[in-house]
């Protein structure tokens, strides 16, 4: 056990799985970087350096740089998965799903069903998500709801380095296509992470903290903001449960509903767009399956239904903040 950044934890998960299973290979843009040039081989290890060193250990036939050509290489990863490999493709930014969505939505997600169960698509698509770097409208989105909407895809969003390692190993071993979303703001954040291999099952939420007054549901980086908000509110006598949902598909509905039964109050915090979004999905679940336990209206903390702005002043307003989360929890707590 040692402290590792999210970047290091993901790298370690990839290394361990590539050592364990020769069918696992990585494909993407600049995941080595410098391939075919005269400069340094493995120059980048991905734009965020996540795959650094793997080219040296496993070679160019398992750490495959591609042209900037998302449809071709995401599609090739799907084709390789269908024929028995376990590719891990790096899409760089989840925003770039826009240029290869046919291969995600119409091929990867549907092949198993369309082919009457003949096909398995053991594919992981890793991608960055989230705001905070003033990267503006096309490099800051959190599109888990878009993927969750499509039957056949699993969607995972880890909240820290420990979670990321276990969830990524599980995702690589999973026989279905997994959209694995890494919050770019957390790559340097360190957590205690075991050196050995371990898995965290998909679809089992984690009670990140246990309290009896308000249930707060979140994913990814928002879990950490919720925990900070809960720390602050402890002083006011408000005791929160924070559920790290880990996955939006499969969704651990049972944990959400059981917690609502205990607290009677629900806040959902999400960095994705609000309309037909993940927060509304959880609110609908509460309305459908736990309404009689609710003592107060559900509160959703999301960005406004707008494109992500560039200006730091605006982006700060856009992303759910600890203050906004605290306010929502207070309102739900004090609601009669």
């Amino acid at each position: 056990m040692s402290e590792k950044s999210l970047r290091e934890a993901i790298n370690e998960a990839l290394r361990l799985e590539m050592q364990r299973d020769a069918k696992v290979f990585l494909i993407g843009e600049d995941i080595a970087g410098g391939t075919g040039g005269e400069g340094e081989e493995d120059a980048w290890g991905g734009v965020m350096g996540v795959t650094k060193g793997l080219f040296g250990e496993f070679g160019g036939h398992r750490v495959i740089d591609t042209p900037i050509s998302e449809t071709a290489y995401i599609g090739a990863a799907v084709g390789a998965a269908v024929t028995g490999m376990r590719p891990v493709a790096e899409l760089m930014f989840c925003d770039f799903a826009g240029v290869c969505f046919d291969q995600i939505m119409n091929q990867a997600a549907k092949l198993r069903y369309m082919l009457g169960g003949q096909a398995k698509v053991p594919l992981v698509i890793r991608m960055q998500c989230g705001g905070g770097f003033n990267a503006a409208a096309q490099h800051s989105q959190t599109l888990h709801a878009l993927f969750t909407h499509i039957p056949g895809l699993k969607v995972v969003m880890p909240s820290n380095a420990y979670e990321a390692k276990g969830l990524l190993i599980e995702s690589i071993r999973d026989d279905d296509p997994v959209m694995f979303m890494e919050h770019k703001y957390m790559y340097d954040d360190k957590w205690e992470v075991p050196d050995e291999s371990y898995t965290i099952p998909l679809g089992e939420a984690n009670y990140s903290r246990d309290g009896e007054d308000v249930t707060v549901c979140a994913l990814g980086r928002m879990v950490n903001l919720c925990n900070q908000a809960a720390d602050e509110l402890k002083g006011e006598g408000i005791d929160c449960t924070v559920i790290d949902l880990r996955c939006t598909s499969p969704l651990d509905e049972i944990s959400i509903c059981e917690s609502i039964e205990e607290t009677g109050r629900l806040v959902v915090v999400d960095e994705g767009y609000p309309r037909c979004g993940f927060a509304t999905d959880v609110a609908a679940l509460a309305a459908e399956k736990a309404l009689r336990s609710l003592k107060a209206p559900v509160k959703l903390v999301t960005p406004p239904h707008t494109t992500i702005p560039f200006a730091p002043t605006l982006e700060e307003l856009y992303i759910p903040s600890i203050d906004r989360i605290m306010t929502a929890i207070q309102e739900v707590y004090h609601s009669k």
């Binding site: 494909i27 591609t66 449809t71 990863a77 084709g79 082919l115 009457g116 398995k120």
Partner: protein, 319 residues
């Protein structure tokens, strides 16, 4: 060429023709659900190529995929059941005409998205490359898909990664209702050549030409000399889809091409065929295929439909 090989080639082409003709007739009677795209007229391309492939080689196909599926070894009865939307179909009645596949035969799927199967075939080729075997992957696609970004991206990727892959573009003259001569800017082989692929123009009406040309191409690709591109001229006798009145084609065009260069006719009249096979042998195959399709239709009509229990299965392996 060996007798057995020629008999098999004729048998497969005849099978595809009869399969498509029967669906054409039964669809007009209202007996076949869904969207149907038939490949009658294009048989020599599918058969001339797939006869060089084993179950360990891969193909991906298009919305017009019955011929490729049959040529790659998919079961006739199970395919007809699938087209008739039956539980016993190749895909359990969940895919239908546009999603025919049998992965155990290396047929990784027809595809409802124009160009959608081309990157998938690259993935199968990538598997062969990563594992270091001598298997290959063939992407069948039409003239319409040549203009899709997915296809052009994949041509580049295949070259850059030196994939054991063949791009088999079947130009049947029309992308839906629009002539390919209008829709394709520039020269097809120059475009493919621009990506660094070896390029080949092939008369897809002539089994012998397809078979011999692809034999050389696949040998090169298997030996690691990089991806190849084939521009195969074919013609579809029926419309883009069943129910298409085909008014975009000049009157009599389909009949003229059928009379001049039908692949079954050319095969029967070819001097090599005449030296090795008798007309009686080919007539006997015709009769056997008619019997086989009678059985397939009868089986499909009598087979059970999927039920409510099947609606939500096969979405995930585990969930």
């Amino acid at each position: 060429m060996k007798r057995e090989l020629l008999l098999e080639a004729y048998r497969q082409m005849r099978l595809i023709r009869e399969f498509e003709d029967r669906i054409h007739i039964n669809n007009a009677k209202g007996e076949v659900p869904g969207f149907i795209h038939l490949s009658a007229g294009q048989e020599a391309s599918a058969v001339g190529i797939c006869m060089h492939l084993t179950d360990d080689d891969y193909i991906s196909s298009t919305h017009r995929g019955h011929g490729h599926s049959l040529a790659k070894g998919c079961d006739v009865i199970a395919m007809m059941d699938e087209i008739y939307a039956k539980k016993t179909g190749l895909c359990g009645g969940k895919g239908g005409s546009m999603h025919m596949a049998d992965i155990s035969k290396g047929m990784i799927g027809a595809n409802g998205i124009v160009g959608g199967g081309v990157p998938l075939a690259a993935g199968a080729a990538l598997k062969c490359k990563v594992l270091g075997n001598d298997r290959v992957s063939v992407a069948f696609f039409g003239d319409g898909a040549l203009n899709e970004g997915a296809t052009m991206e994949t041509m580049n990727l295949a070259k850059v990664l030196n994939l054991p892959m063949i791009f088999a573009m079947e130009d049947n003259g029309y992308g839906e209702a629009t002539p390919s001569t209008w829709a394709i800017g520039g020269n097809v082989l120059e475009r493919a050549g621009g990506f660094g692929l070896s390029t080949h123009r092939i008369n897809g009406h002539d089994f012998y030409e397809v078979y011999e040309a692809f034999g050389k191409i696949v040998e090169e690709v298997r030996s690691g000399r990089g991806p190849a591109f084939m521009h195969i001229s074919v013609y579809r006798y029926y419309g883009h889809f069943e129910g298409d009145s085909s008014t975009y084609r000049p009157e009599g065009e389909a009949d003229r091409i059928r009379n001049e260069r039908d692949c079954l006719m050319l095969f029967r009249n070819h001097p090599v065929t005449g030296q090795i096979l008798s007309a009686g042998e080919l007539d006997q195959i015709d009769a056997e295929i008619i019997d086989l399709l009678d059985k397939a239709i009868e089986h499909a009509e009598g087979a059970p439909a999927p039920t409510e229990a099947d609606l939500t299965t096969d979405v995930y392996v585990t969930y």
